[in-house]
Symmetry: C2
DNA sequence: ATTGTATAATTGGTACGACCTTTAAGGTAT
DNA sequence: ATACCTTAAAGGTCGTACCAATTATACAAT
């Protein structure tokens, strides 16, 4: 049925973890490729494929004739905005206690925005999931998730939404998000959001308009999110093309 | 003296460009690796290194036993927030006419924030460059760039700041930014920013706190930027680790 | 006809091993 | 000291052979 985890990814995660733990911290550089490959039990070819992706993610820099350097300052970033992380994990990573304050699930029909994002006709039946995540008990993220109703099986309960949303998507919709494109905008809290977050109207909020795609490139999930300022450091790593 | 551009990057750019131009659009997938490698005039090994980075950037998806698929929806993203782009280019990419409305250059000393970001002692002499970039004549981005004074040679004029800031950094500071870490926050325009942008106080702005590092991982450049909403679609592509 | 199952063809994934190119460092002659 | 040359180390590139996942095909069983 479903495929196992590629060994490739496993080794990659293992290497990244050992870098984080400071295994190579002595000189803040990785051993020569041939040595490292042997140590990880893979070929140099395969290792280089891994290094190529780690380099693109900013964790290492490869310099011809010099070596492969570890970018400690990137490894230590608190919350990477350009890497998909579950909200609850994100809150925890920032050193706070994470919880879901409330969940409201309702049926509905795709409005114009949703229809555009999910590339479905306007009026298509959808499920709307509104959630409020808290950090140390204080509102941190409010999001409205939307998925096409025909994708969802029945049998879920509110409890299923207290877990990461990916759990619901996978278990009840057979959907595995592969990547997302998120539009980032600054906004100010209106009356409704002010009440949800417990802040005055006009309080700055970060609005993220997120569309998740599966491995086939099909949009499968839409989420409109609001982040309050001050809870996490949202950091994005950038390199030229 | 200075090294040439690696052939590797050239081929990569070439491949990306031809994907954008729709050369492979017929089936929205790339030819088999062996064929593509030959076509590009490189080995399959090298091609795979390139594909690994393109995959991490979301432009393609590689699936064992299937093929390499082009992610059109990623190629078509207007402004990628997780890829370093010059402000003026960013504005142009969004379909507007870009210009620098004003530049103010002054000397100063590193305050606590700057000292932390650039990892230098407080009070270190710095150069402060304040710029306002406009889109179709309307204020779009206001930024205050800071670089350590000892890095800068003399002889530059205001004209040098009407060009991309990288021009100044490279020509007068011998600095080539390799990557940056940018902290993203929502804010509201205060009196000063309101006047600069010509908007009421409280107008939502996106604040980006950016530190640029060179290839050695040394912080070399700090920039505090404000983006007005509505001019561009700032999009970030995210995948799990 | 439909369904299930073996089989082949396609395509990316992995492995070696040899050689090229870029840096950095050390040593030597000036 | 300075400039230049040599050399070692490390990443970059190449080619070939084979492994593994997927999909398509052929064919048998129902």
């Amino acid at each position: 049925m479903s495929s196992q985890l590629p060994q490739n990814k496993t080794i990659r995660a293992q290497l990244l973890a050992s870098m984080r733990e400071g295994e190579y911290a002595a000189s803040e550089r990785l051993p020569r490729e041939s040595v490292l490959a042997e140590k990880l039990g893979i070929s140099r070819t395969q290792l280089r494929d891994i290094l190529a992706s780690l380099e693109r993610e900013g964790f290492i820099s490869r310099r011809h004739g010099v070596g492969t350097l570890i970018n400690r300052h990137v490894l230590d970033v608190e919350t990477r905005m350009d890497i998909e992380v579950e909200f609850l994990d994100m809150i925890r990573q920032s050193g706070h206690k994470a919880a879901v304050a409330f969940v409201r699930v309702s049926d509905g029909a795709a409005d114009k925005t949703v229809a555009t994002r999910l590339q479905i006709p306007e009026g298509t039946p959808i499920i709307r999931i509104a959630r409020l995540c808290t950090a140390d008990g204080k509102p941190a993220i409010y999001c409205e998730d939307i998925i096409e109703k025909r994708l969802a099986r029945t049998g879920y309960t509110i409890r299923d939404f207290k877990l990461p949303i990916f759990h619901f998507l996978q278990q009840f919709c057979g959907v595995i998000p592969y990547m997302d494109l998120t539009n980032v905008r600054p906004t100010a809290a209106d009356a409704a959001l002010g009440e949800i977050f417990g802040v005055p109207m006009g309080t700055p909020l970060l609005n993220m308009d997120e569309v998740d795609f599966d491995i086939d490139g099909q949009p499968v999930f839409y989420s409109n999110e609001y982040f309050i300022d001050g809870v996490f450091n949202l950091t994005v790593m950038r390199k030229k093309l």
